[in-house]
Amino acid sequence: MQTIKLSRSLFPALMLAAGMVAGAAQAAKMDVTIGMQLEPPNLDPTGGAAAAIDEVVYANIFEGLTRFGSDGAVLPALANSWEIGDDGMTYTFTLQEGVKFHDGSEFSADDVKFSIERAMAEDSTNAQKQLFANIDSVENVNGAAVVTLKAADGNLLFNLAWGDAVIVDEKTAETLATAPVGTGPFKFKNWVQGDQIVIEKNPDYWGEPVKLDTATFKFISEPTAAFAAMMAGDLDAFPNFPAPENLAQFEADPRFAVVLGSTEGETILSTNNQQPPLDNVKVRQAIAHAIDRTAIIDGAMYGYGTPIGTHFAPHNPAYVDLTAKSEYDPEKSRALLKEAGLEDGFSTTLKLPPPAYARRGGEIIAAQLRAVGIEVEISNLEWAQWLEQVFKGKDFGLTIVSHTEPMDIGIYAKPDYYFQYDNADLQALMASFAEETDSEQRTSMLQQAQSIISDDYVNGYLFQLAKTGVASAKLKGLWENSPTQANDLTGVFWEE
């Protein structure tokens, strides 16, 4: 009987003590704790594709010749200026002075040559090899990096800003995955797998010093846990907050600020263009008219998201609003199905990856399609399975995914891409676009491309993913938009 009395009095006392210890831990703010949903599998942005890698290291630990600004502009980074040869095939990059890698070694054009050649190599595991496909050679010419292309390319500066093109040191290249060594304003400190990654200020940084001493990235995949962690003050910010239903509560709370912006994520109902009856454009058009975008944006994303009528970001100046072509009209949908000879409807598969826009959006779309006679069988897949079945195996009818790479309308020119759209006119158009350097011409070509893929109803164009971030009201400098997948902390500071 002694045991019960002891535990009855000790327990609450322990809890009280623990509570007081926790309260005392509020120190002066030179550190920040950022929440992320997905943990990167490793820390080498040049060796694997996970966006989560860039979200930790881009602009913080690693830098490239150019970088993306918060509005998507291509800015100088390790290259402080460049000259383009008259034929458009030679780029001479003048590099920053006094740059050191985190292990102390000097940065030079040799490192640029090494990094690019490493990315292009046969056995390289760089996920965006095509960014370098057009590069013929890279040479160190009197301290400047000279890049020679195989053909004129308007995209080079843009390509070099990607996380997959950051500059690394030959000495440390092999172990980047677990011990990243870059030139950025933060150094890697440690990684508790499954929990968090800590980075700290680089005192020898060549550029403007950052206003933080340390930054911790905590990985919380469950939306409920993310909400609870923010509310409890365990996190200072969650730049891609996964539960839009909770944003109103954060807005109403003066401790927090909701940071809204745009991403490059076109969220689409991808349709397997080679699978009957989806290979019939009338059927695809019927699907487009059966979908009510407002219901999806409200029901799945609680109002956050901008409707799109084609595969292009609305905030981009070249965007054409084609949403009227796929207006919600179930009557028209049924009529089109009848025209296609499918008056009684048909059934197909809807394979959904983990994100809420897909799972919730998928349930809503399934109900909308059912209303016009199209039965879909929902399969909730993990990313690994989705990649296997849908992306590689092309074994699907419909799927929902958000394509977050910037300016990726070019995927419609690849007939082998998972939705298998094969249109020779579009392919020719995109080929000429790649060589075109005049910006007016480029815009007009992009607009043409948008119309083509909209007229062909290649995929169901749903909405542009919004960047919904939550942060402590006193934390400033976080990116509002997501022109590339990154958590650039270089401009982040605590306001008093």
């Binding site: 909400f227 239903e245 029901g299 998928g362 809503i364 399934a366 109900a367 929902i378 399969s379 993990e382």
Partner: protein, 271 residues
């Protein structure tokens, strides 16, 4: 008398079973209809329990969810019984020899695997869904029934009327089915009820992590998972399915206890 657990137990079980059965022919609303404009409604005369985040009627979702849970649990227990009982009887009939050893060792090995973990493994690897959930849960019911039937059968083998049957020349298989099985039926019913309630909890757990019945088929566990981020705004979305699970499992456990006391007077010792 301990019959005071039998009655409330039976009532609860009957309630949920009827809800499940009725759902096959009628529910107040169609659970596959999504109507965003009607979401988060409080209970009123149209929607007796309100609506969820997709505007679906909660009462209808509960009824069909009952059907899902009960179906998965029944079939899983069924698998356990249909495979486990014969194994257990065979082991008892061959007590001491190689067959008995083999069956018992395999039993122990299945017991050694953490059940929930393996169920998650199976459903996550081979695809989520009611069928795989049934198989995963069913596999772990087999050793339970095998062990139970064997232990019970062993004690019956020693009884006089069985010895008489053996003397009369009946073989082990006949004896197992004609004499042993009827005498362990009560035990099986009681254990079956307990396993059933465990099956409901297991199905809820698997559905909670997304590995049970898939959309648009409602399931209580998934309703709970969907309600998590909304728990501060719409707590009833978390409370109602949770209570449904608690009451069903409670009912089954009470029923099992009551049946045990009612069916087998010898077990009705001072408990």
């Amino acid at each position: 008398m301990k019959l005071r657990s039998l009655v409330p137990g039976a009532v609860l079980v009957l309630l949920f079973f009827s809800a499940a059965l009725i759902s096959y022919v009628w529910t107040p609303f169609d659970v596959t209809l999504i109507d965003i404009k009607s979401r988060f409604q409080s209970p009123d005369t149209t929607h007796w329990l309100g609506t969820d985040h997709f505007g679906r009627d909660l009462l209808s979702m509960l009824m069909v969810g009952a059907r899902t849970s009960i179906f998965v649990a029944i079939v899983a227990v069924g698998i356990g019984m249909l495979v486990g009982v014969p194994l257990g009887l065979a082991a008892a009939a061959n007590s001491g020899n190689l067959l008995d050893e083999a069956i018992m060792r395999t039993n122990d090995m299945v017991f050694a695997f953490p059940a929930l973990l393996i169920a998650i493994l199976i459903t996550a690897s081979y695809g989520p869904g009611a069928l795989n959930a049934i198989i995963a849960i069913g596999i772990f019911n087999i050793p339970v029934f095998a062990r139970l039937s064997r232990a019970a059968a062993l004690s019956i083998w020693k009884r006089d009327f069985v010895l008489a049957a053996r003397a009369a020349g009946k073989n082990a298989v006949r004896i197992s089915f004609e004499h042993i099985l009827p005498n362990i039926t009560n035990l099986l019913i009681v254990q079956g009820t307990i396993q059933f309630s465990l099956g409901i909890l297991a199905e809820a757990g698997l559905s909670f992590v997304g590995l049970g019945a898939q959309p648009p088929i409602p399931s209580w566990g998934r309703m709970l998972a969907d309600s998590q981020t909304l728990i501060m705004l719409e707590p009833q979305l978390a409370l109602i399915p949770g209570l449904a699970i608690v009451l069903t499992v409670l009912g089954l456990n009470l029923l099992g206890d009551g049946l045990r006391d009612w069916l087998d007077p010898r077990l009705r010792r001072e408990r």
